[in-house]
Protein backbone atom coordinates (compact mmCIF):
# COMPACT_ATOMS: atom_id res chain seq x y z
CA UNK A 1 0.00 0.00 0.00
CA UNK A 2 1.51 3.34 -1.09
CA UNK A 3 0.51 5.82 1.60
CA UNK A 4 1.74 7.63 4.69
CA UNK A 5 1.96 5.88 8.00
CA UNK A 6 -1.09 7.67 9.39
CA UNK A 7 -3.21 6.66 6.44
CA UNK A 8 -2.21 3.05 6.60
CA UNK A 9 -3.24 2.75 10.23
CA UNK A 10 -6.68 4.00 9.19
CA UNK A 11 -6.80 1.33 6.49
CA UNK A 12 -5.85 -1.31 8.99
CA UNK A 13 -8.69 -0.08 11.19
CA UNK A 14 -11.07 -0.28 8.22
CA UNK A 15 -9.94 -3.78 7.33
CA UNK A 16 -10.44 -4.79 10.92
CA UNK A 17 -13.88 -3.25 10.92
CA UNK A 18 -14.83 -4.88 7.67
CA UNK A 19 -13.62 -8.23 8.95
CA UNK A 20 -15.80 -7.78 11.98
CA UNK A 21 -18.73 -6.82 9.81
CA UNK A 22 -18.12 -9.82 7.58
CA UNK A 23 -18.07 -12.04 10.64
CA UNK A 24 -21.31 -10.59 11.93
CA UNK A 25 -22.90 -10.93 8.53
CA UNK A 26 -21.86 -14.56 8.34
CA UNK A 27 -23.19 -15.24 11.80
CA UNK A 28 -26.44 -13.67 10.77
CA UNK A 29 -26.50 -15.74 7.59
CA UNK A 30 -25.80 -18.96 9.49
CA UNK A 31 -28.54 -18.16 11.95
CA UNK A 32 -30.97 -17.43 9.14
CA UNK A 33 -30.18 -20.71 7.39
CA UNK A 34 -30.58 -22.68 10.63
CA UNK A 35 -33.94 -21.07 11.33
CA UNK A 36 -35.07 -21.65 7.75
CA UNK A 37 -34.23 -25.36 7.88
CA UNK A 38 -35.74 -25.71 11.34
CA UNK A 39 -38.91 -24.23 9.93
CA UNK A 40 -38.91 -26.76 7.11
CA UNK A 41 -38.29 -29.60 9.56
CA UNK A 42 -41.06 -28.63 11.92
CA UNK A 43 -43.68 -27.89 9.26
CA UNK A 44 -44.67 -31.57 8.75
CA UNK A 45 -45.50 -31.84 12.46
CA UNK A 46 -47.61 -28.69 12.32
CA UNK A 47 -49.27 -29.93 9.14
CA UNK A 48 -50.11 -33.20 10.88
CA UNK A 49 -51.78 -31.33 13.76
CA UNK A 50 -53.60 -28.86 11.53
CA UNK A 51 -55.02 -31.56 9.28
CA UNK A 52 -56.07 -33.65 12.26
CA UNK A 53 -58.41 -30.83 13.32
CA UNK A 54 -60.16 -30.53 9.96
CA UNK A 55 -63.40 -32.08 8.81
CA UNK A 56 -63.33 -34.53 5.93
CA UNK A 57 -65.04 -31.89 3.79
CA UNK A 58 -62.47 -29.24 4.53
CA UNK A 59 -59.58 -31.63 3.92
CA UNK A 60 -60.72 -32.13 0.34
CA UNK A 61 -61.70 -28.49 -0.19
CA UNK A 62 -60.50 -26.72 -3.30
CA UNK A 63 -58.45 -24.58 -2.87
CA UNK A 64 -57.02 -26.32 0.21
CA UNK A 65 -57.02 -24.44 3.49
CA UNK A 66 -54.00 -24.13 5.75
CA UNK A 67 -55.66 -23.48 9.11
CA UNK A 68 -58.81 -25.34 10.03
CA UNK A 69 -61.89 -23.12 9.70
CA UNK A 70 -62.87 -24.30 13.13
CA UNK A 71 -61.17 -26.83 15.37
CA UNK A 72 -62.90 -30.14 14.79
CA UNK A 73 -62.12 -32.29 17.83
CA UNK A 74 -64.26 -35.10 16.64
CA UNK A 75 -61.33 -36.88 14.93
CA UNK A 76 -59.63 -37.38 18.28
CA UNK A 77 -62.79 -38.81 19.80
CA UNK A 78 -63.35 -41.06 16.78
CA UNK A 79 -59.84 -42.49 17.00
CA UNK A 80 -60.66 -43.98 20.37
CA UNK A 81 -64.05 -45.31 19.35
CA UNK A 82 -63.10 -46.64 15.90
CA UNK A 83 -59.77 -48.14 16.93
CA UNK A 84 -59.39 -50.10 20.18
CA UNK A 85 -56.58 -47.70 20.82
CA UNK A 86 -56.09 -48.28 24.53
CA UNK A 87 -55.92 -52.02 23.96
CA UNK A 88 -53.18 -51.49 21.36
CA UNK A 89 -51.33 -49.25 23.79
CA UNK A 90 -51.59 -51.96 26.44
CA UNK A 91 -50.31 -54.64 24.04
CA UNK A 92 -47.44 -52.45 22.90
CA UNK A 93 -46.53 -51.71 26.51
CA UNK A 94 -46.43 -55.42 27.42
CA UNK A 95 -43.97 -56.09 24.62
CA UNK A 96 -41.88 -52.96 25.13
CA UNK A 97 -41.51 -53.33 28.89
CA UNK A 98 -40.63 -57.04 28.68
CA UNK A 99 -38.05 -56.18 26.02
CA UNK A 100 -36.53 -53.50 28.26
CA UNK A 101 -36.24 -55.96 31.16
CA UNK A 102 -34.59 -58.52 28.88
CA UNK A 103 -32.09 -56.13 27.38
CA UNK A 104 -31.12 -54.49 30.66
CA UNK A 105 -30.53 -57.89 32.25
CA UNK A 106 -28.62 -59.60 29.48
CA UNK A 107 -26.90 -56.90 27.42
CA UNK A 108 -25.25 -55.58 30.58
CA UNK A 109 -24.05 -59.06 31.51
CA UNK A 110 -22.47 -59.66 28.13
CA UNK A 111 -21.01 -56.15 28.06
CA UNK A 112 -19.47 -56.81 31.46
CA UNK A 113 -17.91 -60.01 30.18
CA UNK A 114 -16.58 -58.16 27.12
CA UNK A 115 -15.04 -55.30 29.07
CA UNK A 116 -14.07 -56.15 32.63
CA UNK A 117 -13.34 -59.87 32.71
CA UNK A 118 -10.02 -61.04 31.33
CA UNK A 119 -10.85 -64.35 29.71
CA UNK A 120 -9.95 -66.23 26.58
CA UNK A 121 -13.28 -65.70 24.80
CA UNK A 122 -13.18 -61.92 24.85
CA UNK A 123 -10.99 -61.44 21.83
CA UNK A 124 -12.98 -63.94 19.77
CA UNK A 125 -16.49 -63.03 20.78
CA UNK A 126 -16.37 -59.27 20.66
CA UNK A 127 -15.58 -59.02 16.92
CA UNK A 128 -18.22 -61.68 16.34
CA UNK A 129 -20.79 -59.60 18.21
CA UNK A 130 -19.95 -56.57 16.06
CA UNK A 131 -20.00 -58.76 12.98
CA UNK A 132 -23.58 -59.89 13.63
CA UNK A 133 -24.70 -56.29 13.23
CA UNK A 134 -23.90 -56.60 9.55
CA UNK A 135 -26.10 -59.61 8.91
CA UNK A 136 -29.20 -58.45 7.04
CA UNK A 137 -32.41 -59.16 8.93
CA UNK A 138 -33.76 -60.99 5.88
CA UNK A 139 -31.16 -63.76 6.11
CA UNK A 140 -32.46 -65.07 9.43
CA UNK A 141 -36.08 -64.02 8.95
CA UNK A 142 -37.49 -67.18 7.36
CA UNK A 143 -35.72 -69.81 9.49
CA UNK A 144 -36.64 -67.87 12.63
CA UNK A 145 -40.24 -67.78 11.47
CA UNK A 146 -40.12 -71.55 11.01
CA UNK A 147 -38.62 -72.06 14.48
CA UNK A 148 -41.38 -70.02 16.09
CA UNK A 149 -43.97 -71.77 13.96
CA UNK A 150 -42.75 -75.17 15.13
CA UNK A 151 -42.83 -73.97 18.72
CA UNK A 152 -46.41 -72.78 18.22
CA UNK A 153 -45.42 -69.18 18.91
CA UNK A 154 -47.00 -67.54 15.84
CA UNK A 155 -49.75 -65.19 16.98
CA UNK A 156 -48.18 -64.79 20.44
CA UNK A 157 -45.81 -62.17 21.83
CA UNK A 158 -43.00 -64.68 22.34
CA UNK A 159 -41.19 -64.02 19.02
CA UNK A 160 -41.19 -60.30 19.84
CA UNK A 161 -40.08 -60.62 23.46
CA UNK A 162 -37.83 -63.67 23.65
CA UNK A 163 -34.88 -62.44 21.52
CA UNK A 164 -34.45 -59.52 23.92
CA UNK A 165 -33.37 -61.94 26.64
CA UNK A 166 -30.18 -62.89 24.77
CA UNK A 167 -28.61 -59.46 24.47
CA UNK A 168 -28.44 -57.40 21.32
CA UNK A 169 -25.21 -56.60 19.52
CA UNK A 170 -25.84 -52.89 19.32
CA UNK A 171 -26.66 -52.48 23.01
CA UNK A 172 -23.79 -54.75 24.08
CA UNK A 173 -21.49 -52.55 22.02
CA UNK A 174 -22.93 -49.35 23.52
CA UNK A 175 -22.66 -50.63 27.08
CA UNK A 176 -19.21 -52.06 26.54
CA UNK A 177 -17.97 -48.67 25.33
CA UNK A 178 -19.32 -47.16 28.52
CA UNK A 179 -18.01 -49.93 30.80
CA UNK A 180 -14.53 -49.38 29.36
CA UNK A 181 -14.50 -45.89 30.85
CA UNK A 182 -14.85 -47.32 34.39
CA UNK A 183 -11.32 -47.69 35.82
CA UNK A 184 -10.13 -51.30 35.86
CA UNK A 185 -8.38 -50.63 39.17
CA UNK A 186 -11.79 -50.41 40.79
CA UNK A 187 -12.66 -53.89 39.62
CA UNK A 188 -9.23 -55.24 40.49
CA UNK A 189 -9.24 -53.96 44.04
CA UNK A 190 -12.70 -55.42 44.57
CA UNK A 191 -11.42 -58.75 43.28
CA UNK A 192 -8.50 -58.63 45.70
CA UNK A 193 -10.99 -57.96 48.50
CA UNK A 194 -12.60 -61.24 47.51
CA UNK A 195 -15.66 -59.92 45.66
CA UNK A 196 -17.06 -62.29 43.07
CA UNK A 197 -17.84 -61.21 39.53
CA UNK A 198 -21.53 -61.35 40.31
CA UNK A 199 -21.02 -58.88 43.14
CA UNK A 200 -18.81 -56.57 41.14
CA UNK A 201 -21.34 -56.59 38.32
CA UNK A 202 -24.33 -55.98 40.58
CA UNK A 203 -22.85 -53.65 43.17
CA UNK A 204 -20.20 -51.71 41.25
CA UNK A 205 -20.88 -51.78 37.53
CA UNK A 206 -24.67 -51.51 37.49
CA UNK A 207 -24.87 -48.49 39.82
CA UNK A 208 -21.94 -46.73 38.11
CA UNK A 209 -23.36 -47.27 34.64
CA UNK A 210 -26.88 -46.07 35.30
CA UNK A 211 -26.75 -43.46 32.53
CA UNK A 212 -25.73 -46.01 29.87
CA UNK A 213 -28.26 -48.52 31.15
CA UNK A 214 -30.98 -45.86 31.03
CA UNK A 215 -29.98 -45.13 27.45
CA UNK A 216 -30.31 -48.80 26.53
CA UNK A 217 -33.66 -49.00 28.30
CA UNK A 218 -34.98 -45.98 26.42
CA UNK A 219 -33.71 -47.14 23.03
CA UNK A 220 -35.16 -50.60 23.57
CA UNK A 221 -38.46 -49.16 24.62
CA UNK A 222 -38.67 -46.83 21.64
CA UNK A 223 -37.55 -49.47 19.20
CA UNK A 224 -40.26 -51.87 20.35
CA UNK A 225 -42.88 -49.17 20.71
CA UNK A 226 -42.44 -48.23 17.04
CA UNK A 227 -41.47 -51.63 15.64
CA UNK A 228 -43.33 -52.58 12.51
CA UNK A 229 -41.63 -55.58 10.95
CA UNK A 230 -41.81 -57.88 14.00
CA UNK A 231 -45.52 -57.45 14.72
CA UNK A 232 -46.23 -57.59 10.96
CA UNK A 233 -44.64 -61.02 10.79
CA UNK A 234 -45.89 -62.56 13.98
CA UNK A 235 -49.19 -61.04 15.07
CA UNK A 236 -52.30 -62.24 13.28
CA UNK A 237 -55.16 -61.59 15.70
CA UNK A 238 -56.59 -58.07 15.77
CA UNK A 239 -56.99 -58.07 19.53
CA UNK A 240 -53.26 -58.65 19.95
CA UNK A 241 -52.10 -55.89 17.59
CA UNK A 242 -49.59 -53.30 18.61
CA UNK A 243 -50.17 -49.64 17.78
CA UNK A 244 -48.07 -49.81 14.59
CA UNK A 245 -49.94 -52.74 13.15
CA UNK A 246 -53.29 -51.59 14.45
CA UNK A 247 -52.81 -48.24 12.77
CA UNK A 248 -51.71 -49.95 9.57
CA UNK A 249 -54.83 -52.15 9.60
CA UNK A 250 -56.92 -49.05 10.20
CA UNK A 251 -55.36 -47.34 7.17
CA UNK A 252 -56.59 -50.19 5.00
CA UNK A 253 -60.21 -49.41 5.73
CA UNK A 254 -60.09 -45.65 6.26
CA UNK A 255 -57.49 -44.65 3.73
CA UNK A 256 -59.24 -41.47 2.64
CA UNK A 257 -60.15 -40.20 6.11
CA UNK A 258 -57.01 -38.21 6.57
CA UNK A 259 -58.24 -36.19 9.52
CA UNK A 260 -58.79 -39.38 11.44
CA UNK A 261 -55.54 -41.01 10.31
CA UNK A 262 -53.44 -38.01 11.25
CA UNK A 263 -55.17 -37.66 14.60
CA UNK A 264 -54.23 -41.29 15.24
CA UNK A 265 -50.65 -40.63 14.11
CA UNK A 266 -50.45 -37.61 16.38
CA UNK A 267 -51.63 -39.64 19.38
CA UNK A 268 -49.06 -42.31 18.48
CA UNK A 269 -46.24 -39.79 18.21
CA UNK A 270 -46.88 -37.53 21.19
CA UNK A 271 -45.86 -39.97 23.99
CA UNK A 272 -42.60 -40.61 22.18
CA UNK A 273 -41.87 -36.92 21.88
CA UNK A 274 -42.64 -36.39 25.56
CA UNK A 275 -40.32 -39.26 26.46
CA UNK A 276 -37.69 -37.72 24.24
CA UNK A 277 -37.88 -34.37 25.98
CA UNK A 278 -37.70 -36.00 29.38
CA UNK A 279 -34.68 -38.09 28.49
CA UNK A 280 -32.91 -36.02 25.86
CA UNK A 281 -29.54 -36.29 27.54
CA UNK A 282 -29.57 -40.10 27.35
CA UNK A 283 -30.44 -40.09 23.69
CA UNK A 284 -27.61 -37.84 22.77
CA UNK A 285 -25.14 -39.71 24.94
CA UNK A 286 -26.20 -43.06 23.57
CA UNK A 287 -26.03 -42.02 19.96
CA UNK A 288 -22.70 -40.33 20.21
CA UNK A 289 -21.00 -43.04 22.24
CA UNK A 290 -21.63 -45.61 19.52
CA UNK A 291 -21.13 -43.28 16.59
CA UNK A 292 -17.88 -41.71 17.61
CA UNK A 293 -15.94 -44.18 19.56
CA UNK A 294 -16.79 -46.83 17.00
Amino acid sequence: MVSSIGNSSVTVGNVHNRKKQMKMFRRFLAHAVVILFCGIFIVPFIWMLLTSFKTQQEIYANPPTIFPREFYWRNYVDVFTKIPYMRYVGNTLIISISAVIGQVLTSTMVAYSMSKIEWFGKKYFFPLIIGTMMIPYQVTMIPLYMIYKNLGFIGTYWPLILPNFFGSAYYIFLLRQFFMTIPTSLVESATIDGASDARIYLQIMMPLCKPAITTVAIFTFMGNWSDFMGPLLYLNKAEMYTISIGLQAFVQTHYIEWGLLLAASAIFTVPIIILFFMAQRYFIEGITITGIKG
Binding site: A30, P44, I117, M134, F228, T269
Partner: protein, 302 residues
Protein backbone atom coordinates in the same frame (compact mmCIF):
# COMPACT_ATOMS: atom_id res chain seq x y z
CA UNK B 1 -8.94 -73.43 41.33
CA UNK B 2 -6.46 -71.37 39.35
CA UNK B 3 -7.33 -67.69 38.96
CA UNK B 4 -7.14 -67.95 35.23
CA UNK B 5 -9.62 -70.82 35.04
CA UNK B 6 -11.91 -68.95 37.40
CA UNK B 7 -11.82 -65.88 35.14
CA UNK B 8 -12.53 -67.99 32.10
CA UNK B 9 -15.52 -69.57 33.77
CA UNK B 10 -17.09 -66.33 34.90
CA UNK B 11 -16.35 -64.64 31.56
CA UNK B 12 -18.13 -67.48 29.82
CA UNK B 13 -21.11 -67.41 32.20
CA UNK B 14 -21.60 -63.68 31.73
CA UNK B 15 -21.37 -64.05 27.96
CA UNK B 16 -23.69 -67.04 27.94
CA UNK B 17 -26.92 -65.20 27.05
CA UNK B 18 -25.31 -63.86 23.91
CA UNK B 19 -23.65 -67.18 23.03
CA UNK B 20 -26.99 -69.03 23.25
CA UNK B 21 -28.67 -66.22 21.36
CA UNK B 22 -26.01 -66.30 18.68
CA UNK B 23 -26.44 -70.02 18.13
CA UNK B 24 -30.27 -69.92 18.12
CA UNK B 25 -30.96 -66.57 16.47
CA UNK B 26 -28.00 -66.14 14.12
CA UNK B 27 -25.83 -69.17 13.41
CA UNK B 28 -28.52 -71.82 13.06
CA UNK B 29 -30.90 -69.60 11.02
CA UNK B 30 -28.08 -68.53 8.69
CA UNK B 31 -27.18 -72.11 7.89
CA UNK B 32 -30.84 -73.12 7.57
CA UNK B 33 -31.52 -70.17 5.31
CA UNK B 34 -28.70 -71.34 3.04
CA UNK B 35 -30.26 -74.81 2.94
CA UNK B 36 -33.76 -73.42 2.23
CA UNK B 37 -32.35 -71.41 -0.67
CA UNK B 38 -31.65 -74.71 -2.48
CA UNK B 39 -35.15 -76.04 -1.91
CA UNK B 40 -38.70 -75.55 -2.95
CA UNK B 41 -40.49 -74.80 0.27
CA UNK B 42 -43.97 -73.46 0.97
CA UNK B 43 -43.83 -73.61 4.77
CA UNK B 44 -46.54 -76.30 4.99
CA UNK B 45 -44.76 -79.24 3.40
CA UNK B 46 -41.20 -80.40 3.96
CA UNK B 47 -38.58 -78.57 1.85
CA UNK B 48 -37.82 -80.26 -1.44
CA UNK B 49 -34.23 -80.03 -2.66
CA UNK B 50 -33.99 -78.38 -6.11
CA UNK B 51 -30.33 -77.38 -6.37
CA UNK B 52 -29.68 -73.93 -7.75
CA UNK B 53 -33.09 -73.65 -9.43
CA UNK B 54 -34.18 -70.73 -7.23
CA UNK B 55 -31.08 -68.74 -8.09
CA UNK B 56 -31.43 -69.53 -11.77
CA UNK B 57 -35.04 -68.47 -11.76
CA UNK B 58 -34.28 -65.23 -9.95
CA UNK B 59 -31.56 -64.22 -12.38
CA UNK B 60 -34.00 -64.62 -15.27
CA UNK B 61 -36.73 -62.66 -13.60
CA UNK B 62 -37.36 -59.03 -14.54
CA UNK B 63 -38.98 -58.25 -11.18
CA UNK B 64 -35.88 -59.42 -9.33
CA UNK B 65 -33.64 -57.09 -11.33
CA UNK B 66 -36.14 -54.27 -10.95
CA UNK B 67 -36.12 -54.65 -7.17
CA UNK B 68 -32.34 -54.74 -7.16
CA UNK B 69 -32.21 -51.63 -9.32
CA UNK B 70 -34.66 -49.78 -7.04
CA UNK B 71 -32.60 -50.71 -4.00
CA UNK B 72 -29.32 -49.67 -5.59
CA UNK B 73 -30.97 -46.39 -6.60
CA UNK B 74 -31.84 -45.68 -2.97
CA UNK B 75 -28.43 -46.78 -1.73
CA UNK B 76 -26.33 -44.96 -4.30
CA UNK B 77 -28.31 -41.72 -4.17
CA UNK B 78 -29.72 -41.86 -0.67
CA UNK B 79 -26.51 -42.60 1.23
CA UNK B 80 -24.39 -39.67 -0.03
CA UNK B 81 -27.39 -37.36 0.06
CA UNK B 82 -28.18 -38.17 3.69
CA UNK B 83 -24.56 -38.05 4.79
CA UNK B 84 -23.90 -34.75 3.01
CA UNK B 85 -27.05 -33.15 4.35
CA UNK B 86 -26.38 -34.49 7.85
CA UNK B 87 -22.87 -33.11 7.78
CA UNK B 88 -24.03 -29.77 6.40
CA UNK B 89 -26.59 -29.42 9.18
CA UNK B 90 -24.11 -30.58 11.83
CA UNK B 91 -21.75 -27.85 10.67
CA UNK B 92 -24.45 -25.23 10.94
CA UNK B 93 -25.58 -26.49 14.33
CA UNK B 94 -22.02 -26.56 15.62
CA UNK B 95 -21.85 -22.76 15.61
CA UNK B 96 -22.26 -20.90 18.84
CA UNK B 97 -25.63 -19.31 18.30
CA UNK B 98 -28.42 -18.49 20.71
CA UNK B 99 -31.03 -21.21 21.15
CA UNK B 100 -28.86 -23.85 19.52
CA UNK B 101 -30.04 -26.71 21.73
CA UNK B 102 -33.61 -26.01 20.65
CA UNK B 103 -32.63 -26.14 16.99
CA UNK B 104 -30.76 -29.40 17.51
CA UNK B 105 -33.80 -30.91 19.18
CA UNK B 106 -36.02 -29.87 16.28
CA UNK B 107 -33.72 -31.54 13.78
CA UNK B 108 -33.55 -34.71 15.78
CA UNK B 109 -37.28 -35.00 16.48
CA UNK B 110 -38.38 -36.54 13.14
CA UNK B 111 -36.11 -39.54 13.70
CA UNK B 112 -38.05 -40.63 16.79
CA UNK B 113 -41.47 -40.57 15.13
CA UNK B 114 -42.71 -44.16 14.62
CA UNK B 115 -42.32 -45.21 10.98
CA UNK B 116 -46.03 -45.88 10.59
CA UNK B 117 -46.91 -42.37 11.74
CA UNK B 118 -44.23 -40.58 9.74
CA UNK B 119 -44.94 -42.51 6.54
CA UNK B 120 -48.64 -41.81 6.86
CA UNK B 121 -47.90 -38.15 7.37
CA UNK B 122 -45.68 -38.05 4.30
CA UNK B 123 -48.22 -39.79 2.10
CA UNK B 124 -50.50 -36.92 2.98
CA UNK B 125 -47.83 -34.25 2.51
CA UNK B 126 -47.06 -35.71 -0.93
CA UNK B 127 -50.71 -35.86 -1.98
CA UNK B 128 -50.80 -34.39 -5.52
CA UNK B 129 -53.71 -31.98 -5.05
CA UNK B 130 -54.27 -31.48 -1.31
CA UNK B 131 -50.72 -32.07 -0.11
CA UNK B 132 -48.60 -29.46 1.56
CA UNK B 133 -45.61 -29.89 -0.72
CA UNK B 134 -47.41 -29.45 -4.01
CA UNK B 135 -49.36 -26.48 -2.72
CA UNK B 136 -46.11 -24.86 -1.66
CA UNK B 137 -44.54 -25.64 -5.05
CA UNK B 138 -47.57 -24.28 -6.90
CA UNK B 139 -47.53 -21.05 -4.94
CA UNK B 140 -43.89 -20.63 -5.96
CA UNK B 141 -44.89 -21.23 -9.59
CA UNK B 142 -43.05 -24.57 -9.75
CA UNK B 143 -44.40 -27.77 -11.31
CA UNK B 144 -46.34 -29.98 -8.91
CA UNK B 145 -45.56 -33.62 -9.73
CA UNK B 146 -47.71 -36.59 -8.81
CA UNK B 147 -45.15 -37.82 -6.30
CA UNK B 148 -46.56 -41.20 -5.45
CA UNK B 149 -48.38 -41.83 -8.72
CA UNK B 150 -45.70 -41.13 -11.29
CA UNK B 151 -43.13 -43.98 -11.37
CA UNK B 152 -40.42 -41.42 -12.16
CA UNK B 153 -41.14 -39.49 -8.97
CA UNK B 154 -41.77 -42.17 -6.35
CA UNK B 155 -38.15 -42.79 -5.42
CA UNK B 156 -37.22 -39.07 -5.34
CA UNK B 157 -40.21 -38.66 -3.03
CA UNK B 158 -38.76 -41.28 -0.69
CA UNK B 159 -35.35 -39.63 -0.85
CA UNK B 160 -36.97 -36.37 0.17
CA UNK B 161 -38.77 -38.06 3.02
CA UNK B 162 -35.44 -39.64 4.02
CA UNK B 163 -33.84 -36.23 4.38
CA UNK B 164 -36.41 -35.37 7.03
CA UNK B 165 -35.00 -38.24 9.08
CA UNK B 166 -31.30 -37.39 8.96
CA UNK B 167 -31.28 -36.09 12.54
CA UNK B 168 -29.49 -39.17 13.84
CA UNK B 169 -26.69 -38.79 11.31
CA UNK B 170 -26.51 -35.10 12.11
CA UNK B 171 -26.17 -35.77 15.82
CA UNK B 172 -23.24 -38.16 15.39
CA UNK B 173 -21.48 -35.73 13.06
CA UNK B 174 -22.10 -32.93 15.53
CA UNK B 175 -20.42 -34.86 18.32
CA UNK B 176 -17.53 -35.67 15.98
CA UNK B 177 -17.10 -32.02 15.04
CA UNK B 178 -16.95 -31.07 18.69
CA UNK B 179 -14.12 -33.55 19.15
CA UNK B 180 -11.88 -31.86 16.56
CA UNK B 181 -9.16 -29.99 18.49
CA UNK B 182 -9.72 -26.22 18.41
CA UNK B 183 -5.98 -25.63 18.15
CA UNK B 184 -5.98 -27.05 14.62
CA UNK B 185 -8.44 -24.40 13.46
CA UNK B 186 -6.59 -21.61 15.23
CA UNK B 187 -3.32 -22.61 13.59
CA UNK B 188 -4.98 -22.74 10.18
CA UNK B 189 -6.56 -19.35 10.67
CA UNK B 190 -3.19 -17.83 11.47
CA UNK B 191 -1.84 -19.44 8.30
CA UNK B 192 -4.62 -17.64 6.45
CA UNK B 193 -6.71 -20.63 5.41
CA UNK B 194 -10.27 -19.59 4.63
CA UNK B 195 -13.28 -21.47 5.98
CA UNK B 196 -13.75 -23.65 2.89
CA UNK B 197 -10.11 -24.63 3.04
CA UNK B 198 -10.34 -25.30 6.77
CA UNK B 199 -13.33 -27.54 6.19
CA UNK B 200 -11.59 -29.64 3.55
CA UNK B 201 -8.15 -29.87 5.11
CA UNK B 202 -9.01 -30.04 8.80
CA UNK B 203 -12.63 -30.94 9.43
CA UNK B 204 -13.06 -33.67 6.83
CA UNK B 205 -9.85 -35.62 7.61
CA UNK B 206 -10.47 -35.31 11.36
CA UNK B 207 -13.95 -36.75 11.20
CA UNK B 208 -13.25 -39.27 8.43
CA UNK B 209 -13.53 -42.29 10.77
CA UNK B 210 -17.01 -41.17 11.73
CA UNK B 211 -17.95 -40.58 8.09
CA UNK B 212 -16.73 -44.10 7.37
CA UNK B 213 -18.77 -45.61 10.20
CA UNK B 214 -21.90 -43.78 9.08
CA UNK B 215 -21.29 -44.76 5.47
CA UNK B 216 -21.17 -48.46 6.34
CA UNK B 217 -24.26 -48.28 8.57
CA UNK B 218 -26.19 -46.27 6.03
CA UNK B 219 -25.35 -48.61 3.14
CA UNK B 220 -26.35 -51.66 5.16
CA UNK B 221 -29.66 -50.15 6.20
CA UNK B 222 -30.44 -48.85 2.70
CA UNK B 223 -30.03 -52.34 1.28
CA UNK B 224 -32.74 -53.43 3.71
CA UNK B 225 -35.12 -50.56 2.93
CA UNK B 226 -38.53 -51.95 3.76
CA UNK B 227 -40.94 -50.38 6.22
CA UNK B 228 -41.58 -47.06 4.48
CA UNK B 229 -41.96 -48.74 1.08
CA UNK B 230 -44.28 -51.38 2.50
CA UNK B 231 -46.49 -48.81 4.20
CA UNK B 232 -46.52 -46.46 1.25
CA UNK B 233 -47.46 -49.04 -1.34
CA UNK B 234 -49.84 -50.87 0.97
CA UNK B 235 -51.70 -47.71 1.93
CA UNK B 236 -52.10 -46.85 -1.74
CA UNK B 237 -53.25 -50.26 -2.85
CA UNK B 238 -55.45 -50.66 0.25
CA UNK B 239 -55.98 -54.32 -0.27
CA UNK B 240 -54.36 -57.71 -0.34
CA UNK B 241 -53.42 -58.80 3.13
CA UNK B 242 -49.67 -58.94 3.59
CA UNK B 243 -48.88 -57.95 -0.01
CA UNK B 244 -47.75 -54.41 -0.53
CA UNK B 245 -48.13 -53.65 -4.22
CA UNK B 246 -44.69 -52.31 -5.10
CA UNK B 247 -46.06 -48.96 -6.23
CA UNK B 248 -46.73 -47.68 -9.75
CA UNK B 249 -44.90 -49.83 -12.30
CA UNK B 250 -43.11 -51.52 -9.40
CA UNK B 251 -41.08 -48.36 -8.90
CA UNK B 252 -41.17 -48.92 -5.13
CA UNK B 253 -40.60 -52.63 -5.25
CA UNK B 254 -37.45 -52.70 -3.15
CA UNK B 255 -35.39 -55.80 -2.67
CA UNK B 256 -36.50 -56.43 0.91
CA UNK B 257 -40.11 -55.82 -0.07
CA UNK B 258 -40.00 -58.29 -2.95
CA UNK B 259 -38.31 -60.80 -0.67
CA UNK B 260 -41.05 -60.35 1.90
CA UNK B 261 -43.74 -60.79 -0.79
CA UNK B 262 -42.13 -63.99 -1.99
CA UNK B 263 -41.99 -65.37 1.53
CA UNK B 264 -45.23 -64.27 3.15
CA UNK B 265 -47.58 -63.47 0.27
CA UNK B 266 -46.59 -66.11 -2.32
CA UNK B 267 -45.19 -68.61 0.22
CA UNK B 268 -42.08 -69.22 -1.85
CA UNK B 269 -39.76 -69.61 1.10
CA UNK B 270 -36.98 -71.21 -0.94
CA UNK B 271 -36.90 -68.40 -3.45
CA UNK B 272 -37.06 -65.80 -0.68
CA UNK B 273 -34.15 -67.50 1.08
CA UNK B 274 -32.14 -67.42 -2.13
CA UNK B 275 -32.87 -63.69 -2.33
CA UNK B 276 -31.75 -63.27 1.27
CA UNK B 277 -28.46 -65.00 0.50
CA UNK B 278 -27.86 -62.91 -2.61
CA UNK B 279 -28.48 -59.83 -0.47
CA UNK B 280 -26.11 -61.12 2.18
CA UNK B 281 -23.38 -61.64 -0.39
CA UNK B 282 -23.91 -58.21 -1.97
CA UNK B 283 -23.81 -56.49 1.41
CA UNK B 284 -20.68 -58.42 2.38
CA UNK B 285 -18.90 -57.51 -0.87
CA UNK B 286 -19.88 -53.84 -0.67
CA UNK B 287 -18.83 -53.62 2.99
CA UNK B 288 -15.55 -55.33 2.21
CA UNK B 289 -14.92 -52.99 -0.72
CA UNK B 290 -15.62 -49.97 1.46
CA UNK B 291 -13.22 -51.27 4.09
CA UNK B 292 -10.61 -51.62 1.35
CA UNK B 293 -10.98 -47.97 0.34
CA UNK B 294 -10.60 -46.97 3.96
CA UNK B 295 -6.84 -46.68 3.79
CA UNK B 296 -7.09 -44.07 1.04
CA UNK B 297 -9.26 -41.55 2.84
CA UNK B 298 -9.84 -42.43 6.47
CA UNK B 299 -7.30 -41.07 8.93
CA UNK B 300 -7.20 -42.43 12.42
CA UNK B 301 -5.62 -39.95 14.82
CA UNK B 302 -3.50 -40.54 17.90
Amino acid sequence: MKVKTKRNISGFIFALPWIIGFVCFSAYPIVTSMYYSFTEFNMFQAPNFVGIANYKQLFQEAKFWKSLYNTLYMTVLGTPLNLAFGLFMANLLNKKLKGMSVYRTIFYMPTIVPAVASTLLWIWILNPTQGLLNNALKSLGLPAPNWLGDPQMTKPALLLMGLWGTGGIMLIFLAALQDVPKSLYEAAEIDGANSVRRFFSITLPSISPVIFFQLIMSVISNFQYFTQAYLMTNANSTGGFNAASGGPENSLLFYALYLYQNAFAFFKMGKASAMAWILFIIVAIVTYALFKTQRKWVTYGE
